[in-house]
Symmetry: C2
């Protein structure tokens, strides 16, 4: 950060304030406030004439209340914070966040919320830090948390701090409101489907992470396999995907699998390319299934048979849930505030009957 930075001085051009409106309309500041907020009833009696007069002045001068002052006075600001553990827009992370944000944005538009992106959070080890000395969480009415992995410590601190928030994606941490994708059931279905197509030799490759969304998919795989045949499950390799393309391929070959479940589409893509290189026909000799939508970065990918988490809907529903929480207060029993949305199953072209 450049060092002239902190010298920022808001040479505030004097704001248009309620007091000035009051002077112009020949009333008191209180009256203006009451008119602005459309109050009426026993405690705020304003006859139509006066109201009109004030409204006219307000209109003419394009008055807008200072949100900071409102906030300080205890009024919600219709401001939702959005925290992403990684930069949200760059190409690498775009596929993941962009869809979610599309949903969030659309819903924000509908519900009348503005979005506060916490981009100033200092980056530590490639990840943004939620709780830093100058975090601005409180500026927002509540906050959405996005990220493959979310620090459990952060979640606990938010919960114990009574801060209204919603995590996007299922979370293991206690009392965390979230909206996630139902990966378990989705993967179970995919396993069933492959099984019915005659596959018996499976391989599951997944990313090396503790993320709940990945764990859920593994869980779904295990459940699906054990529903089909527990003894086969026992011989089925479930491994972290290798780093290099070649190693990945040898994982596939040495497993002897007829169908690979690649949790990460990027891995599916690499495997597919290696298959071509090694003259292995996909899907006739090897079926590939992936458990998320592929990145747009990988062109020339086949139309993978896959699980498609409803990312836009996840974003939209998260915001809706947060709005609910904001209105009805922090929930005691968060179980009511934990939502799982079904994944779509995309047929694609990379899963066909196993060869006999």
């Amino acid at each position: 950060m450049p060092d002239w930075w902190w010298s920022v001085n808001m040479s505030t051009p004097r704001r248009l304030t309620q007091r000035k409106i009051a002077e112009l309309a020949n009333v008191s500041q209180s009256t203006v406030s009451l008119v602005v907020n459309n109050k009426e009833g026993s405690s705020a009696r304003i006859p139509p004439e006066t109201r009109e007069r004030v409204l006219k002045v307000l209109q003419e001068h394009g008055y807008v209340a200072d949100p900071a002052a409102r906030s300080l006075a205890g009024v919600a600001n219709k401001l939702i914070g959005v925290f992403t553990y990684e930069a949200a827009f760059p190409a690498e992370t775009r596929d993941f966040y962009s869809e979610l944000l599309t949903g969030v944005e659309a819903q924000a538009e509908i519900l009348g919320y503005d979005l506060l992106m916490f981009t100033s959070a200092p980056v530590q080890d490639g990840r943004r830090e939620l709780f830093h000395p100058t975090n601005r969480l409180r500026l927002a009415d509540g906050c959405l948390l996005l990220g493959l992995e979310i620090e459990s410590a952060d979640l606990e601190r938010l919960v114990s701090g009574d801060y209204p928030f919603v995590a996007v994606g299922r979370r293991d941490t206690q009392n965390v409101p979230y909206v996630g994708a139902n990966y378990v059931d989705g993967v179970v279905q995919l396993v069933e489907k492959a099984w019915k197509l005659g596959h018996r030799k499976f391989l599951l490759l997944h990313r090396d992470t503790e993320a709940e969304s990945v764990a859920d998919r593994i869980r779904g795989f295990v459940r699906g396999m054990s529903e089909m045949d527990p003894s086969i499950l026992r011989q089925t390799p479930i491994s972290v995907a290798a780093r290099t393309s070649q190693d990945l391929w040898s994982q596939v070959v040495s497993s002897g699998a007829s169908v690979v479940f690649a949790e990460d589409p990027a891995h599916a893509s690499l495997i597919y390319r290696e298959a071509i290189k090694n003259s292995v026909d996909v899907p006739r000799e090897l079926s590939i299934v992936t458990l998320a939508d592929p990145s747009t970065l990988f062109e020339n990918d086949p139309d993978f048979t896959r699980l498609s988490p409803p990312r836009q809907k996840l974003g939209a529903e998260s915001l809706t849930l947060l709005a609910k929480i904001l209105i009805s207060g922090i929930p005691k029993n968060t179980a009511d505030y934990q939502l799982l949305l079904p994944c779509e199953l995309v047929s694609g072209k990379t899963l066909v009957a196993a060869r006999v």
Copy 2:
């Protein structure tokens, strides 16, 4: 103002305030503030012991200043508003905004700004309205304006209202600070290049819009052509692109052009497909040049020879410029605050020598 406004009540869980810290550290609130803001000098004398003691309490309780209160007290909030005339994240507009926002976000991270996306602005005729009764422009220190077209009225109002802002993209309106792409010179170069390759029959198709960025490209085309040969320019059609694929194609055919300058990559894409359909070889029989980067939505596009506006850089530089304005105050002479960045010229594969 909508009437749900007041119904949302922040059941504020009592904040951790400077006063409480003060009690715990046995000092006054003022002292805490001074420590928090790291003040020193003649007007704020705090001996190391006291400072340490206060810092320790601050640390232990994880105190964070209320941004609303700070803002009210006149401190800049390091908050930059981002206004897009269309939704920023959806696929249709993603190509345009996403690159810009990537740059903005990266720079915001560097300069320590948070971003406020004005998503609550009501949509009128498919476009968001900047000045609406509940606009929250003032919540931000300043604002970035994104959009192919920007209402001149909005710009004037911002200027006359002394509101710090920067438009992304060159603007005709007086006294508007902006960071834009130098389309004129870029297109001139492209014209020269085509000319040197022997092309004499040109066609320029552009979108039907008053947007400055489009006008600049047309201007560049005209300048380039007239530098080559004014008499040929006079015979060169410069038209609004037709709506349908077929009409577009007949525009191309009837012009007899050996090279088409398609301002909008989407048009280039359609023309390319029609060419294939009509067994016209691109680029050997028809060269195609486009004046922006193609959308990722159109797959199977060739590698168009094109002008590539530095969108990420545009975003980053806009934020930098706005930051400068915030520090040094609203400029009187905005000429110093109008920046044009050079476009990159991508060679691509769709412009080759004209047939003799």
